[in-house]
Amino acid sequence: METKNSEYILTMSHVNKSFPGVKALDDVSIRVKRGEVHGLVGENGAGKSTLMKILSGVYTKDSGEVVFDGQVIEKTTPVESLNRGMSIIYQEFNLVQTMTVGENIFMGRFKEVGGMRGTHKKARELLDRIGSKIRTHALVKDLSTSEMQMVEIAKALSFNSKLIIMDEPSSSLTADELKALFQIVRQLVQQGISVIYISHKLDEIFELCDSITIMRDGHVIDSKPVADLTRAEMITKMVGREIENEYPPRPECVGDVLLEVSNLNSHKLHDVSFQLHRGEILGLVGLVGAGRTEMIRALFGADHVRSIDVKMEGKPVHIKNPRDAIALGMALVPEDRKLQGLVLPFGVGSNISMAALKNISSGPLKVVNGSKEKELSQRQIEDLLIKTPSAETKVVSLSGGNQQKCVLGRWLEMSPKVLILDEPTRGIDVGAKFEIYLLMKRIVENGGSIILISSELPEVLNMSNRVLAVCEGRITGEFNPVTDSVDTIMDKVLG
């Protein structure tokens, strides 16, 4: 049993957590020393966020032991763990946008800190402690991302936190802001606070962290001081898995240029140009928030842009809204299938037939041909092996993979020339993933082209014919996934 004065602030041993159908954490053990920066790396879905949520008390672990600051923690709530001295800074900050900086720091503790004046005074002290010059009276919605992060750090300090967990803190920071963040983290460590630093970016990990835990598929792969690891080792440990079984052979049927995008500018995108060939799978890799989704949304006419020139089959076209894009033979499977893809209260059939409805309605009244509709949704259900009791079953009751297949089926019915897939396999089990990969293969073999966005690097690298690196709203490099190494690609992705 750890004592209060143990060398370790946090000890997790043999923690397990399963969700229906998935084992999210499998026998995970991690130890974090007092006053160290502990890097936690792993791909999306490796189990990092589940781990955090167990620590904060959003989820309850199935088995295992968590000892924090000498105390065994069985069940906890986010509020309790905050008061115990463990703060988590999530990627999407826990801040009320409409309130001031000071009040966000001391939310719910207005009386304790002595009213409005005390709030702002103490907030000032905390912000000064991390060397931040943000006005405590500023509204959070007017702050930049890095400033919001400072507020979160100040908030963590206000709870006298002994452990601060930062989830991808650098994902939308500029180089200068990052430097400042590092300085603050080092300062915190000097004050005896431990930091768990979760990141994709290996450079940061090597620069900042004292020790590292690498996770993959719910397991801890390795945990050692940073000095004992090389960069190459780390990448293999992060990514290294039996790839052969997970991806079908890469389709090779690239033809001539189909789509040409140039001069794409908006508030997040800067002079983006790229080409898409017939029968090609074009992968866009980049960090979350790098501008990948914005690029394809702009192309699809879903967002306002300052300028964009699109040529389809050599002819300039104007895409003002998604309807124009669809008429040109484009299709978009959006990243958030529940918010943007599906009409949840509706049946599987209506969700599939949604885009094709116009084509199967006829006459001056545009009567939808009911039998054709049934036929087409049934066809997609059978083709895509969507597991559903019937076409009338509400789509909300299906599993993630089957939901995604509904969105895909909707577009396959339109036989699109350009299919844009934004995170098509997020939150989907392995079996369904493979089916989606096979489907992608079938589409390009039938002459379609695909733009693939994914946060899972192996997925993009194994499926694409060509890869574009996206960083801070620009395309920073073009690669051949077969010949170019992961390192060179990641270099460009990280900017």
């Binding site: 699809f300 879903a302 809204n321 998604p322 309807r323 669809i326 008429a327 978009l332 959006p334 918010l339 943007q340 893809g341 599906l342 009409v343 949840l344 209260p345 509706f346 209506s350 949604m354 885009a355 409805l357 116009k358 309605s361 009244l365 545009k366 009567v367 939808v368 009911g370 509400k394 909300v396 009751s397 909707r410």
Partner: protein
């Protein structure tokens, strides 16, 4: 043995919960018929069907608006202006002209609601709520203005107003009011529109998820405007039914119709969240509301207690709906 019994009782309860409306309707009718035999008399039933007129059309229109994700509060004002207008226009345009103009006006006013909501970028119910409420004020005031605040009598018209009379008092086979027949016809048309036509399907899909509908190539703004325009026209129809029945048009006739219509629609099973619902359910809802008043009148309950009843039913209806949704998810 015990287990099967338990399941049986559960299925019975579920069936009752699912068809709550019909069950309540039948129970209400049976109880009233037992206590007050007058209820089943042909004259009373005809009376119920006639009362059905105005509210049913208004509720149909509102059903569409709510399916599309908006609550149309312009109903009272629209009823006021349409009613007054239809009477005033008989003299200059003749009765056919007056009828047609009123319907066109309703269409236009509904379209205006839609245009204001979509142009302002309002995608939430709250925004639509306040804008349509403002429109209700505008139309009410306009009705006052053109009628000079006086109730307009049909019999003041110099030209014939036989269509109004016909719609208000003719009974098919001597028992079924023509208003009822018209309503059923319109309801079937709207049901066809909603379930079978492309525009109708767009309406539900847009109500279910505007972002997803837009990304799937549905013209959401046009859909909203079209839906609210149909809603406006239905309200105008309701106004015409009202005028036909009472042969006059007060510029404040629409007061309270918004509550009744919302009650009917919600009780009829249309979800306020948008997307789900149908006009047949609304018909049952309207039936319940009218039957409720009728039964209570027959049973001698004061008209004031009916307000209490309606309020309670409204809250109970969404509470039950919410429970059902929680269970199914």
């Amino acid at each position: 043995m015990k287990k099967t019994q338990k399941i049986d009782s559960q299925t019975v309860i579920r069936f009752i919960m699912d068809h709550m409306l019909v069950v309540i309707l039948i129970a209400l009718a049976i109880i009233t018929a037992m206590v007050e035999p007058k209820f089943l008399k042909v004259s009373n039933l005809t009376n119920i069907m006639r009362q059905f007129g105005a509210l049913s059309f208004v509720a149909l229109g509102l059903t569409f608006a709510i399916i599309c994700g908006f609550i149309d509060l312009s109903i009272p004002g629209m009823l006021n202006i349409c009613a007054v207008m239809s009477v005033i226009l008989v003299n200059p345009l003749g009765q056919v002209g007056a009828l047609i103009m009123t319907l066109i006006f309703g269409l236009f006013a509904g379209f205006l609601n839609g245009a204001l909501i979509t142009r302002s970028g309002g995608t939430t119910q709250a925004e639509g709520l306040f804008i349509t409420f403002g429109m209700s004020q505008v139309w009410s005031a306009a009705a006052m203005l053109i009628s000079d605040g006086k109730t307009q009598q049909l019999r003041w018209c110099d030209k014939p107003y036989t269509i109004f009379k016909f719609m208000g008092s003719y009974n098919v086979f001597g028992v079924i009011p023509i208003a009822m027949v018209l309503f059923v016809a319109v309801m079937l048309i709207l049901n066809f529109y909603h379930k079978r036509t492309y525009s109708g399907r767009c309406m539900s899909l847009a109500g279910g998820n505007k972002t997803a509908a837009d990304l799937a190539g549905i013209h959401v703004n046009v859909t909203i405007m079209r839906t609210l325009a149909i809603g406006g026209m239905m309200t105008a129809m309701g106004a015409l039914m009202l005028v036909s029945r009472v042969t006059n048009a007060s510029p404040t006739v629409g007061l309270g119709y918004d509550n009744d219509a919302i009650l009917s629609v919600v009780v009829g099973g249309t979800s306020l969240a948008g997307g789900k619902g149908n006009v047949l359910g609304t018909m049952l809802g309207v039936l319940l509301v009218t039957l409720l008043s009728n039964c209570m009148n027959l049973l001698g309950v004061s008209s004031h207690m009916q307000y209490v009843m309606k309020g309670a039913v409204l809250i109970f209806a969404i509470w039950a709906d919410n429970r059902k949704n929680l269970q199914s998810n």
